[in-house]
């Protein structure tokens, strides 16, 4: 198996197309898309609001907040957007699980205390380093001020407690890096394996390999290991370009590794499976493209899935690449490991199934 890995790897680097698609192409893409979109950015800020108060004052505080944020429509990409949080939820957990950092909590005794003129604090969650959090605190301060001035007792009873939430605000480039890593993990193994599976059969290379003790499983594993290697390398290259050329916010952690392994595992297997469907290299590449291109554009490689129309989001949710990119977003940007483990688990199961099918259906020899 190591021998196969070595020969394949060397061939891959010697072949100009292999080298280009594996390592150079993704870099070109990140430079291109980064340059085009890094100025704009996706800056709609969601502000999570939890009103624990049952009285009238809490509601009017929420209305006041609402009046500052009329950008909640789904096609808007900037401004504030209020999101109510049910009062039975743990607020900080809710923020984390939504990968958000901006929020306001109105305490349970708000109306009573306010009317009595007792001291009461509204809690503002935010990331001190983020500009959107500063905007949110500013707005809350203005509203608090208004409440104090117009208060029944004339006492400045409302205060603000600031709490730090971890997530920062995200730029387009932040999403682009995981997206393009997913893209790299998809395209080079898919195209290569679809091509290999048909040309090796045509040239009887599979027959030659079947005459050795090398098994199909070992052969496929060698390909997977190779593409894990190339994906890791392109991950580092893209991260470097993303961080140094465009100032992407990326944190390195071992969670990323799960996806750098699972992605190639899945796509090598899928490429092989797709390649077995048809006999001629030409037909195989058509089928390969049919599978690859929709996945490439709809899984959040170039644009966050959340910014796509609803029906396309539904489509995205059945594409395995979506879970890889979603997972990468979670670990690289939000450091939100719970959902990432779910994505990874899902990917692992699908990959194992596809791997097993690929090994079963692709034939060294004929009957």
């Amino acid at each position: 198996m190591t021998a196969d890995l070595k020969v394949y790897g060397r061939s891959n680097l010697r072949s100009k197309e292999g080298f280009f698609f594996t390592l150079v192409f993704p870099i070109i893409l990140i430079l291109l898309f980064g340059a085009i979109f890094s100025s704009g950015g996706i800056s709609q800020t969601k502000v999570y609001v939890q009103n624990l108060d049952v009285g009238p004052i809490g509601s009017s505080f929420v209305s006041a907040l609402n009046s500052t944020s009329n950008y909640c429509s789904s096609n808007s990409t900037s401004g504030l957007c209020l999101r109510p949080v049910p009062s039975d939820q743990n607020f900080t957990q809710f923020l984390t699980s939504n990968s958000a950092s901006d929020g306001v909590v109105i305490p349970a005794n708000f109306s009573a205390a306010y009317q009595a003129g007792d001291k009461v604090n509204v809690t503002v969650y935010g990331n001190p380093t983020s500009t959107t959090s500063a905007v949110v605190s500013g707005i809350v301060a203005v509203i608090v001020n208004g409440f104090n001035v117009h208060g029944a007792t004339g006492v400045h009873s409302v205060g603000i407690t600031s709490k730090t939430a971890v997530s920062s605000s995200y730029k387009y480039i932040d999403f682009l890096v995981p997206g393009l890593i997913g893209f790299a993990a998809l395209t080079s193994p898919m195209f290569a394996l679809v091509n290999i599976s048909s040309t090796y059969r045509r040239d009887k290379v599979f027959k030659l390999l079947s005459l050795t003790p090398l098994t199909k499983t070992e052969w496929l594993l060698a390909k997977i290991i190779w593409y894990i290697g190339t994906t890791v390398v392109s991950f580092f290259l893209m991260t470097l370009v993303g961080v140094y050329a465009f100032g992407a916010h990326i944190t390195l952690n071992w969670g990323i590794g799960m996806f750098l392994v699972l992605g190639p595992f899945f796509f090598v297997s899928l490429g092989m499976l797709v390649g077995t469907v048809s006999n001629s290299p030409e037909a195989a590449s058509v089928v390969g493209n049919l599978v690859t291109f929709p996945m490439m554009f709809l899984s959040g490689t170039f644009f966050p899935v959340a910014s796509m129309p609803k029906y396309l989001q539904t489509v995205a949710h059945v594409l395995p690449l979506y879970y890889m990119i979603e997972g990468l977003n979670d670990v690289m940007i939000y450091k939100n490991f719970g959902p990432a483990y779910f994505d990874a688990g899902l990917l692992l199961i699908i990959s194992a199934v596809v791997f097993a099918l690929a090994v079963k259906f692709f034939r060294w020899r004929e009957d």
Partner: protein
């Protein structure tokens, strides 16, 4: 125990009966050659023996194993060049040999093998840039990395120049010298005559002749013939005045020599005829003549490609 044993082997592709009930056996250390026109079923037969194809009917044993069921075990003991051998585009012959050897868990000496197949001049050229003959030689080298007991060579010399062909012959002779069993297919009859202990001629999926080349020639050939240039006059004289079996084809008169007596009578009668004659030769059917007779002139079998 013979190295290869085939009994009643049949294989169908859709409606086409590619192999139609053939039986033969190849002894240990023997060089056995399958001859036959395009589409006769040679490759199909050899692939079944290599365990690369399943059969429809009949039994096959190679080194005492069923090639399809015990392929994994068998493959460690056999060497194969598929027809039209191709390999990965990028390894050099040296790398390919080391790689293929490693797949068998063997450390091979690439220099020794490269020299053996006379490929040491091209050891560092990428496979895709090798000439057709060089590729074929690499195939030969690869089939030997695992020190096989039985070697299957499907058209090992097709596309080679005469010198390279002779080099391959040398390799095959050496394999025989080392006591290995060799099964080869070829379209070159002289190759079969040179190398093979026994040959089988296939046509339409059947074996039409089998044995040593001498056996086949004497069984299916016409034996000795006297061929002489001469016209209608000579032909008519011989027919009228002798009991010889005489045929005429244009300016060529052929006399079948059943025994020595025939030869003497023929010579005397030609002289007596007083007709113009010249270019007298004595011939016997070569394997090629027999081959063409058995598979039909033109060489290509009906129902073939």
């Amino acid at each position: 125990m013979p190295a290869i044993e085939v009994d009643g082997l049949k294989k169908k592709y859709g409606e086409l009966q590619a192999v139609d009930g053939i039986s033969f056996s190849v002894g240990e250390g023997e060089v056995f050659s399958l001859l036959g026109p395009n589409g006769a079923g040679k490759t199909t037969t050899i692939e079944i023996l290599e365990g690369l194809r399943d059969r429809d009917e009949g039994t096959t044993q190679v080194l005492g194993m069923d090639p399809w069921k015990s392929g994994y075990e068998l493959h460690k003991k056999i060497g194969v060049i598929p027809q039209g051998f191709k390999f990965l585009d990028y390894p050099t012959p040296r790398e390919a040999i080391v790689y293929y050897g490693a797949l068998f868990g063997r450390k091979v000496d690439p220099d020794e093998l490269l020299r053996r197949v006379i490929l040491d001049d091209a050891e560092n050229i990428w496979f895709q840039n090798l000439s057709g003959g060089q590729k074929q030689k690499l195939g030969m080298a690869l089939s030997l990395v695992n020190d096989p007991e039985v070697v299957f060579l499907d058209e090992p010399t097709t596309g080679l120049d005469p010198q390279a062909r002779r080099a391959v012959w040398e390799v095959v002779r050496r394999l025989k010298g080392e006591g290995r069993t060799v099964m080869l297919t070829t379209h070159y009859l002289e190759e079969a005559e040179e190398l093979a202990d026994r040959v089988a001629i296939m046509n339409h999926g059947r074996i039409v002749a089998i044995g040593t080349t001498a056996e086949i020639e004497s069984k299916f050939g016409t034996g000795q013939r006297m061929v002489v240039k001469g016209g209608q006059g000579l032909f008519a004289y011989l027919q009228e005045n002798t009991k010889l079996d005489v045929r005429r084809d244009g300016e060529t008169v052929t006399i079948v020599l059943r025994d020595k007596e025939d030869a003497l009578v023929a010579l005397g009668s030609i002289e007596e005829s007083g007709a113009e004659w010249g270019d007298l030769t004595v011939k016997r059917d070569s394997l090629e003549d027999v081959f063409l007779k058995l598979v039909g002139e033109g060489g290509t079998a009906k129902g073939g490609e």
